[in-house]
């Protein structure tokens, strides 16, 4: 029996979770543990269930069976504001209809923290400004959110997550339609926050460079897990992604001094 404060107690524990729509099962008996402080990546081919799994974690999808606990509390037993105080989410694409300003969008991070009639205090304002500075959007705070470029939008949403002051940041392919520079920038920004991150990735090399741990999902099941070096093997790439590739080491080492696997794809499959 370990105590709550033990360092290896998972922050988030997904226990035998299954989910599906209209008799079609999408996730089968998923088991995932996210330890505090880790940057964990979720990879898998299109339609494997990456977004469905993440949606279960931020309570958009309710699992058919199984349990998800956060700090040992069932997430469906928590009040929705209380859960939102601890878990922030950056989505792939965020539509915005009526020209909220960038500042307004970032200030939304306060939503779960404020009671109905309370107003924005000076310290809230300081937090918002600090978040804007952290993501480097000082010049854009009065612009409308819709007028930002894709990379700036994702940075604004990360700033919103910073204002939310979460313990866990969930990101669903937050860089999938950004240029290379912004893919790296957005992910390094998320990494620099010092919170636990669980993110799905499209780009496997980016995932390898950023993550402490990787999970591979295929057909709604977790097939591989471990460090990037353990997970990203030529066999796994052939088996799960159906590509022929060579895995070498990246010339750079990770911050912790570990080697980073680097994938080179081969072409000509006909």
């Amino acid at each position: 029996m370990h105590t709550k404060s033990a360092p290896n107690t998972p922050l988030l524990n997904v226990n035998n979770v299954s989910w599906g729509i209209a008799n079609k099962s999408i996730l089968n008996n998923i088991n995932v543990q996210i330890s505090p402080g880790k940057f964990v990546g979720l990879i898998g081919p299109n339609g494997a269930g990456k977004s469905s799994l993440l949606r279960c974690l931020y309570r958009f999808n309710r699992p058919i069976s199984g349990q998800i606990t956060f700090n040992n509390h069932d997430i469906w037993q928590l009040k929705s504001e209380d859960y939102a105080k601890q878990v922030a989410v950056v989505l792939q694409e965020t539509p915005s209809q009526f020209n909220l300003s960038v500042f307004d969008v970032i200030a939304l991070g306060l939503t779960p923290h404020k009671s109905l009639f309370s107003s924005v205090t000076n310290s809230d304002k300081q937090n918002i400004i600090q978040a804007i500075n952290t993501v480097g959007l000082e010049q854009h705070s009065n612009q409308s959110f819709e007028s930002l470029s894709g990379g700036e939008k994702q940075r604004a949403l990360i700033a919103r997550a910073i204002v939310q002051q979460p313990q866990l940041l969930i990101m669903d392919e937050p860089t999938s339609h950004l240029d290379v520079k912004y893919q790296i920038q957005v992910m390094e920004l998320a990494k620099s926050l010092g919170v636990t991150v669980f993110a799905s990735f499209h780009d496997l090399n980016l995932a390898a460079a950023m993550c402490d741990e990787l999970l591979v999902i295929k057909n709604g099941e977790i097939t591989h897990s471990g460090t990037p070096t353990q997970v990203l093997t030529e066999n796994m790439l052939a088996e799960v992604f159906g590509v022929c590739a060579q895995v070498n080491s990246h010339p750079q080492l990770s911050k912790a001094g570990n080697s980073i696997p680097h994938i080179t794809y081969f072409y000509g499959y006909e």
């Binding site: 939102a84 500042f103 307004d104 939503t111 107003s119 500075n133 000082e138």
Partner: protein
Amino acid sequence: MVMNNMSAVNTRHSLALFISIAAALFSLFAALSFGAADTSLEDVLNSFLLSNEASFNTRIIYELRMPRTLLAFMAGAGLAIAGLILQTVTRNPLADPYLFGISSGASFGVVVLMAFTGISAGFMLSTAALLGSLAAMSLLILIAARQQSAQVESMLLAGVALSFLFSAFTSLLLYWSDPQAVAAILFWTLGSFARAQWATLWLPLVVIVVCIGFMLSFRRQLNAMLLGDESAITLGVRVHRFRILMLVLSSLITAVLVAMCGGIGFVGLMVPHIVRFFISQGSVAGLLVTSLVGGTFMVWVDVFSRSLLKNQELPVGVITAAIGSVFFLSLLFFRKSKV
């Protein structure tokens, strides 16, 4: 840098709020001097200052024009804020209180009353309109509450379908009614503030003030809805329940106003968009300015309806639609694209 930007935004919002409050107060006051009887601003001022003097002008101003102007203001403010809320929670720029069949329900109630009892004026008429719109509103909420997955779509489609359904029944009853009833119902659907009385003014006042209070307190959740349901859920908003609550509040405002003034279209659709051209709707100021601008606009519409033609009153709905669409179109045409 950010601080400077922010204070600039705050100043702009305070300025917008200040201007709209000033314009609203001035309009409420100035509107009292217009009408069939010849009164000047001076007469209005006198009737305020020398209130014990029961002159003819004073009585006109106190007993006829003032309740009427106040009702017009409340109607404009209420419809504008209801429109803003519905546009926000459905994320549909075309949403407006009348899109959801609430006014068709009211017309149906009125026509039923006229066709079966022959009553064509008075308190009963408002009651029938209120019952009709509450019926439409309950049907709509029933459908929206059942649908969890595609709530916005079913709300919009159900609203349009309900409005056609009630219009069909209304037309059917009118087809069998005499021409006089047809004229009466037409006048009623086009809207008028002529029925305003001090005795009944408290009802829209209470409903609108309570609903606006609720909406202000939920402003963060409203903003969160603008970035999509999924994003709102991650911010701890219980999206489905919240949308229904907002639908109930805006329907209540609309139902009460339709019952008192008939169908006044376009304000709820247009005013929120006009205000959005100038300030972000995300702030308290945005919500308040929207309702103040709606109210001020309606006060002047009522003035026009009373004074454009000698000895005759034009239907309010005609004027709102005419002025509103021209203004809106020119705003769309001349607006500089924002950076």
